[in-house]
């Protein structure tokens, strides 16, 4: 049996203290295999974003362990976490997450530049991914010149360009129309299938849920 690539065990996270304390996640266990795509579904405030933040090392759990590819995040300091995210994680946020001063090309180039990949290789990879998205003609455009769906597809391209082990996408289809939403999900599915990247995305969109097999439902911080 294949070893689990991502393991979340007994994860607890509470924001605030005393009477104002809000439990975001309570005793969460989650196991995902390499190359698998999982969808975390649940209503607003159910803890979906918190789960992604903890998994991506953007926040620290109050208790429990998170292991990605055998590496335990809670054993890392801030500097190590930053390097880990740079190399191993790709992030897709809700709308408007592209850097507005950068063109499409430069936005996708950012993770490669951080990893000091040489210019020639950067160019090749960017051209290839833009071509696969059918967006080569948009490479010199700025984010404000793109539609919501196009922005999200570029965000996905940026998240996977450096071949990370894990991509976390927080409601990537929020605020998109049906057609754009379908295009974004198609992009995610194509990339996860072709590149064997583990994907976790959150959503509360029923149409999105119907496209995936592995669905994890969250409610009040618990997996149900």
């Amino acid at each position: 049996m294949k070893e689990y690539f991502l393991k979340l065990e007994n994860i607890n996270k509470t924001y605030g203290k005393g009477e104002l304390a809000v439990t975001a996640l309570s005793s969460v266990y989650l196991y995902i295999r390499k190359g698998e795509t999982a969808v975390v579904a649940g209503p607003s405030g159910s803890g979906k974003t918190t789960l992604l933040n903890l998994t991506g090392g953007l926040d620290i759990a109050d208790s429990g362990t998170i292991s990605i590819g055998g590496i335990e995040l809670d054993r890392m300091n801030e500097k190590q976490l930053t390097s880990f995210r740079r190399e191993k994680i790709g992030l897709v946020f809700q709308e408007d997450s592209l850097i507005p001063e950068m063109t499409v090309y430069e936005n996708i180039e950012l993770p490669l530049a951080l990893l000091r990949i040489e210019n020639k290789k950067r160019k090749y990879r960017i051209e290839r991914i833009l071509s696969s998205l059918g967006m080569t003609d948009k490479k010199k455009r700025f984010p404000y010149e793109l539609s919501g769906g196009e922005k999200q597809r570029i965000s996905i391209a940026r998240a996977v360009i450096h071949s990370p082990s894990l991509v976390l996408a927080d409601e990537p289809t929020a605020n998109l129309d049906m057609l754009s939403s379908t295009q974004v999900i198609d992009t995610i599915k194509n990339i996860s299938d072709s590149l064997n990247i583990t994907f976790i995305l959150t959503t509360h969109d029923g149409n999105v849920l119907s496209r995936f097999e592995k669905i994890i439902k969250l409610n009040y911080g618990r997996i149900v």
Partner: protein
């Protein structure tokens, strides 16, 4: 590093509205500071020239007293040697003797200066400061207005001039007024030749040397001191310590002003950069989430600030230089309406702004330094902000 400098350059160019606001403010401030620095130098130049033109020159050489012949020989020998020094543009040589003038009304002590009228008229302003009479047409003396008033002397009067061992009767041919009390009540002038008839062994002589400007004062004084070791040589700074103090005070006041302007500028820049950087808080948070290190964020923000500060500093310096050139082309700034009673501007009240390397580069250096220092504040605020907090708005 190069990637972040490129990123900063793109950010500066592509966020042109913010860039233009910071650039314009910075350029204006540096230009004003360069101009103010040049005005300060001009004020000092005018103060120095006004003080020196009356009597001492930039460097004052005093010979040992003797009879007329030895004094004239000493004077001419020094003039001949110093005439070859390229830093010295004019020399005024004078014979001197302390005298007492007695009238029916009063008596007063003066220093009688034997001059070459034509040469003196080119150098010092006494000839232009006559209120009555003529400028030494022949044998006779010029007397200051204050001295003349105390003694009750008018032009055309004959007065008894007492030297230590003799008395001569001389005609008053003119009265001058410089506005400086000590000068108007203590100095009288005559042609040098009059001293031939004064049979004294206490005739002194001095030379007032005029330089191109004050920049090479000490170096020239040192060279002259080595050449004439037996002479009493003083720079104007030693001869006129009150004026020197005033010039230093003026410099200090200007430095304080420049410092305050830079401080205000620094606060302004900090505020603008803080607004500019904090406005992009969520984008920096995204970059941090992607794995950008603190050092890279600091590099990006400081590089952005450096690009704006250095370019606008250069533009400001160029604009300041143009302002100075424009002001000079108009003939300087005439302050006579405001300084007519100021003894330090008795001779010339036109301020000609002058650029010096220090005062031209200092504003730019300070402004760039303060701008870059100011940019560390938003940079550190961004890196201290938790990724999760910065991303909450996304």
């Amino acid at each position: 590093m190069i990637f972040w400098i490129k990123y900063s350059l793109r950010s500066v160019l592509r966020r042109y509205r913010t860039t233009v606001v910071i650039f314009a403010g910075f350029t204006f401030s540096v230009a004003v500071l360069v101009f103010l620095g040049a005005v300060m130098t001009g004020v000092n130049d005018t103060m120095i020239q006004n003080a020196l033109k009356l009597h001492s020159g930039y460097i004052f050489i005093e010979g040992k007293p003797g009879n007329y012949s030895s004094a004239v020989t000493g004077l001419e020998r020094i003039k001949q040697i110093l005439g070859k020094n390229p830093e010295i543009i004019k020399i005024s040589g004078r014979l001197t003797i302390p005298v007492m003038i007695q009238t029916e009304k009063n008596s007063m002590a003066f220093l009688l200066n034997g001059i070459d009228p034509e040469n003196e008229a080119e150098i010092t302003p006494v000839s232009k400061k006559l209120t009555e009479g003529k400028y030494l047409p022949g044998d006779g003396i010029l007397i200051g207005k204050k001295g003349a008033d105390i003694l009750g002397i008018k032009v055309g009067d004959w007065v008894s001039v007492y030297t230590p061992s003799s008395m001569n009767t001389l005609k008053v041919t003119g009265i001058f007024s410089t506005g400086i009390d000590s000068f108007d009540s203590g100095m009288i002038f005559s042609r040098k030749e009059i001293f031939r008839d004064i049979n004294e062994t206490t005739i002194g002589y001095h030379l007032a040397l005029f330089l191109r400007n004050n920049d090479k004062l000490k170096e020239t004084a040192r060279v002259i001191s080595e050449e004439f070791k037996d002479k009493n040589i003083k720079t104007w700074e030693e001869k006129l310590p009150d004026i020197y103090q005033l010039v230093k005070l003026n410099e200090m006041a200007m430095f304080i002003m420049i410092f305050l302007v830079i401080l205000i500028l620094g606060f302004g820049i900090t505020n603008t950069l803080l607004t500019s950087v904090m406005g992009r808080k969520r984008h920096f948070a995204i970059m941090k989430a992607m794995g950008i290190r603190s050092g890279e964020i600091i590099t990006a923000i400081i590089a952005e600030s450096s690009i704006i500060c250095i370019s606008s500093g250069l533009a400001g310096t160029a604009a300041g230089i143009m302002l100075v050139a424009f002001s000079s082309s108009l003939g300087g700034m005439d302050l006579s309406r405001y300084t007519s009673y100021n003894p330090n501007f008795a001779v010339n009240s036109i301020i000609m702004p002058r650029l010096t390397p220090g005062m031209t580069l200092l504003p730019q250096f300070l402004a760039v330094f303060s701008g870059i220092a100011a940019s560390t504040i938003p940079a550190f605020r961004i890196i201290r902000e938790k990724v999760i907090k910065g991303m909450r708005n996304i």
